[in-house]
């Protein structure tokens, strides 16, 4: 079966055409680097995504601190992870890359702050 993909690994966004049998990539065309094939293989077995959102800060003028995941998570767990992140309220000071939730939902990815919030 032939399938088309847009690689999301970098801003090039290569348009990839892959010939697929089940979860095996038989051939691939259009990827300008080796990460294209890995992306397609991952999409076939378990699509992975990163998400970015924000968390409440209770004691500062800035109401939110932005957060992201250290590693990608299965695409179908995005909203589960969003619900976990929504439960959190932080107290300033917060430093960039501070771990907000360790190993969120056992998915081997940490939620980390992506900015400093000073007191």
């Amino acid at each position: 079966m032939n399938k088309e993909y847009t690689c999301i690994i970098c801003p090039n966004g290569c348009e990839i055409e892959a010939q697929i049998a089940g979860t095996t990539v038989l051939s691939i065309e259009g990827a300008s680097c080796t990460r294209g094939r890995l992306y397609v293989e991952q999409e076939l077995i378990d699509p992975q995504r990163n998400i970015a959102t924000s968390v409440f800060v209770k004691n500062e003028n800035i109401p939110l601190v932005s957060v992201r995941l250290t590693h990608t998570i299965p695409k179908n767990r995005i909203f589960d992870v969003m619900n976990e992140i929504k439960k959190i309220t932080l107290t300033a000071p917060i430093v960039i890359n501070q771990v907000v939730i360790k190993n969120v939902l056992g998915l081997n990815s940490d939620v980390i702050a992506t900015k400093h919030v000073c007191v």
Binding site: I9, G13, I62, P63, L64, S66, K115
Partner: protein, 412 residues
Amino acid sequence: MAIINKDVVIIGGGPAGLAAAVQLRKKGIQDIVIIEREKQLGGILRQCIHDGFGLTRFETTLSGPEYSQRFIDLVEEMNIKYITDATVIDLTPEKKVVIVSKKGLLEYQAKAVILTMGCRERTRGAISIPGTRPAGVYNAGVAQSYINLHNTMVGREVIILGSGDIGMIMARRMTLEGARVKAVFEVLPYPSGLPRNIQQCLEDYDIPLYVSHTITKIKGHSRVEGITVSQVDENMKPIPGTEKEYDCDTLILSVGLIPENELSLACGVELDDRTKGAIVDENYQTTVDGVFAAGNVLQVHDVVDFVSLEAEALADSVAEYIKAGTLMYCKINIITDTHISHTIPQKISGEKDLKICMRVKKPFKNCKIDVLQNNIVIKTVTMKKAIPAEMIQIKIKKTDLKSSDIIKVVVA
């Protein structure tokens, strides 16, 4: 009012201004100051909390705030002076910079001025959508600021007009925050944003994108209640009979960015009608001696890494200008055919290696971009695909140039 002398005044502390400041210091220019309008440095990246920044510049994927923090840390470490909460109210061709700040009115006399003011969003007024004027119509970047910085959700039932990158990124962001994004409409026959954003911001969340469609009516009184959408023909005119109604409480516009050049105009910088930014030479020097421009104030970029790289190249030239008092005269113009929207720079000396940035006006597959001098191809780049959403960069070596004749860039 005492006049403060400075080697370089940088107007704008976003990614371009920060990268320029750090690179200037690396080149030995000590006496510099960054003027920033907001309370903090970082520019638009402060609200771009999604990841995907830094792959070219740092070979890792970062969020916007992390990307800018890397430069802010260097600015702090190098003790580069900056003033926040400060607005430049005048810039003269003699490079006098007048600033309103918390310390009152300040006047700088600079040897060189760097313009890194970024860009603004095109608004509803600029694209003339008919209908009522209710609340609930936001520019994508405004919605991004409300949600990511001010903890204010803009709406629940959302329609997006324009397939620019910020609009698509906000489609995903609002979906994560519980909104229902019903559709994205694009007047052009192809998307204006990057393909990866169509995948990871729209298709991942089953948000449909309709090209060759536009909004022909906004309905509602105190708040948006709905819109009418029509298909458009090849001249982008709505086709009667194709109208469809959508209910929504929010309309997000992602319909283009315009370089913010009020100050550039004040000091007499000549703008390019095509980019809406300054005309610059290979040194990023504008038509006013000692005034330089880089980043989104010069040309709207799609990837911030290239903004940093452009500002660093600018800083190299500014350092040379400060040390030598002048730069090589650039008399060779670069022109394009009708398939290419513009080039940066617009003129070169012919004495240096350089990089030409450009965009195609419509998508091409398996095309060649030729750089010509006197009808002779001096450089050619083969591309599997060329799309307007992606800036194309072509490196030209000094030795590639055959003469001091005009340079033409064409899609072959």
